[in-house]
Amino acid sequence: MNRTVSNRIDRRFAALKAQGRTALIPYITAGDPAPAYTVGFMHACVEAGADVLELGVPFSDPMADGPVIQKACERALVHGTQLRHVLEMVAEFRQRDTETPVVLMGYLNPIERMGYDVFTRQAQASGVDGVLVVDMPPEEAGDNAALFAEHGLQSIFLLAPTTSEARAKEICKYGEGYLYYVSLKGVTGAATLDADAVGEQLGKLRRVTELPLCVGFGIRDGEAAAAIGRVADGVIVGSALVGRIAERADDPTSIPAALKSILGEMREALDRDAVG
């Protein structure tokens, strides 16, 4: 249990709960549009009010992602952004920010290829707090989850509208940090979501878990963030941010301001709700 207390993710959610606030969790793909900008973008997100950062590890075959994040992966891979570079970015981020939790999000093969021992050691040394592997459900995590835990890396798992109640119970047993509720059937960046339906699902999940419930997929603006913020402990914003990065890929210095603008709008909408 000592580990839990010392983990940045748990500390952050405990603080948010005490303040009655909803977590704002931006996702960006590391190395997009080029590796040199990523750490700056991470700091910009925090300055705009992000509570947790999800940093995407580029992968050649992002099966669960829509076109927006697929293209982000392609832009990052043109520059050869590999997992080891992403870990270096986190280490660099940690030089200035020792408090904001960082979760790596991606697919299993880059970790598999690096080797689980090497990965967990280096991720811990870099200051990574959690790992969300899209194609590694709890039943395939096996020994890896224990190895991650030994190195202070929390395993974040996904829940979906199609997850049965029995299965949700199992996943909640293994989940750490927070649970990522996928708001809709589809890939990232798909159509807008239905906040009422999400609320109903989260209600069911709260009966089986104490973990914070964060919602991603389909949150595009302040209004959607606020609607989800009313029922969730955190809102995750990915494609909406990555889309803005794509629009400005030729002028990367303009990206931090663009990220701050949309995240600021969401932050404000969430906090307005929290106060009201």
Binding site: P58, F59, S60, D61, P62, M63, A64, D65, G66, Q70, E74, L77, G80, Q82, L83, R84, Y107, L108, N109, P110, I111, E112, R113, M114, V134, D135, M136, P137, E139, E140, F157, L158, L159, A160, P161, T162, T163, S164, R167, I171, V182, K185, G186, V187, A190
Partner: protein, 404 residues
């Protein structure tokens, strides 16, 4: 008892073949895979379901397919006797239809009105579009844009069969990208869509059920060998991309220790050049893609490698997880045939036996020729002639400088 008996007891309850296989998918699909597993478990040993499957194979596909003694070719090579399992004579022209018939029956039982599939050479796409037409199911086929170009004839066949062919422009624009896109479709339309995977890869239970539906090839070949040769063959040879036709032929022989098996991968420009699609032969590292752990061609960062092969159907960086295990335990020897050897075999069989093989199948023929030359005339090799070559005429003609 066979020292390979244990191999007949796989996969385990969670879909693992030793360290391979499994169900590495995003959470949204877990439900659909559990549902499929349940449906299949209920029907697998159901005599009525099996009878329906067998009836379709007999009257719609035209099974059993012949085991043909390629006497003239064997004589010319001057070694072992080569026998061809004529899957090219099936309805739609390849072994793929055995599996799609089976999965279409599952789709029907599941009550889903729409099927999707990925395809490389287009054979699986055509086989899927065919059964969809017959059952009145809506059908969409994902195909890499490069393969759409290479396999125009099959694209048009699918179109005539009422299927929508979606060219996939992402990544390397081949089979693996088509599978990514099919998975994205499935995750979006999981309520009303059945995904007909065309090879012994993908998340559990696909490798198992595709194997089971494809194994009719080996069951027939085993029986026919006993009848026509008077004993089991000395060797089996089949090409391996994902590995469905090889699995289909090999599986019923797994416990016949005296039968040596060869899986022939796509050597492309040569395994040594790195431009190939032969993860087993090249000892590619272990990796995870498309729902299963297997030998997977990837770079040091774990990015999946671009593959190279003259045949679209074998142009895949991974391989079915059961093949991965069979390599490790030494049940099957995996080798590669490169593009030049394949083209030579294509031309040779056409000229000597009047049978035009698919370029995929020509990989198996290329290796069988080498093997036969090292064996004696009283020995026998069964080769899976997994598909016919009509679809490849454009590719071969182009190499001859002929455009239609």
């Amino acid at each position: 008892m066979s020292r390979f008996h244990d191999l007949t007891q796989l996969p385990d309850a969670r879909g693992h073949f030793g360290p391979y296989g499994g169900r590495f998918v995003s959470e949204t699909l877990s439900f659909a895979l559990e549902e499929l597993e349940t449906i299949y478990a209920g029907l697998k040993d159901d005599p009525e379901f099996q009878a329906e499957f067998d009836r379709d194979l007999t009257h719609y596909v035209g099974r059993p397919s012949p085991l043909y003694h390629a006497e003239r070719w064997s004589r010319e090579i001057g070694g072992a006797q080569i026998w061809l399992k004529r899957e090219d004579l099936n309805h739609t022209g390849a072994h793929k239809v055995n599996n799609t018939i089976g999965q279409a029956l599952l789709a029907k039982k599941s009550g889903k009105p729409r099927v999707i599939a990925e395809t490389g050479a287009g054979q699986h796409g055509v086989a899927t579009a065919t059964v969809a037409a017959r059952l009145g199911l809506k059908c969409e086929i994902y195909m890499g844009a490069e393969d759409v170009e290479r396999q125009k004839l099959n694209v048009y066949r699918m179109h005539l069969l009422g299927a929508k062919v979606v060219p996939v422009e992402s990544g390397s624009r081949t089979l693996k990208d088509a599978m990514n896109e099919a998975l994205r479709d499935w995750v979006t339309n999981v309520d009303d869509t059945f995904y007909i995977i065309g090879t012994v890869a993908g998340p559990h239970p696909y490798p198992m059920l595709v194997r089971d539906f494809s194994a009719i090839v080996g069951r027939e070949a085993r029986r026919q060998s006993l009848e026509q040769i008077g004993r089991l063959p000395d060797a089996l040879v089949a090409c391996v991309g994902g590995g469905s036709n090889a699995m289909g032929l090999f599986y019923p022989f797994v416990e016949d220790d005296e039968v040596t098996m060869y899986g022939v991968e796509a050597g492309g420009e040569g395994v040594a050049t790195g431009r190939h699609a032969a993860p087993l032969t090249a000892n590619a590292p272990r990796g995870v893609l498309h729902g299963n752990r297997t030998y997977l061609m990837s770079d040091e960062g774990g990015q999946v490698a671009d593959t190279q092969s003259i045949s679209a159907g074998l142009d895949y960086p991974g391989v079915g997880p059961e093949h991965a295990l069979w390599k490790d335990v030494g049940r099957v020897r995996y080798v590669a045939a490169d593009d030049d050897e394949v083209l030579a075999a294509f031309r040779e069989l056409t000229l000597v036996e009047g049978i035009m093989p698919a370029l995929e199948s020509a990989h198996a023929l290329a290796h069988a020729k080498k093997l036969a030359g090292e064996m004696s005339p009283d020995q026998h090799i069964v080769v899976n002639l997994s598909g016919r070559g009509d679809k490849d005429i454009h590719t071969v003609a182009k190499l001859d400088g002929i455009e239609f």
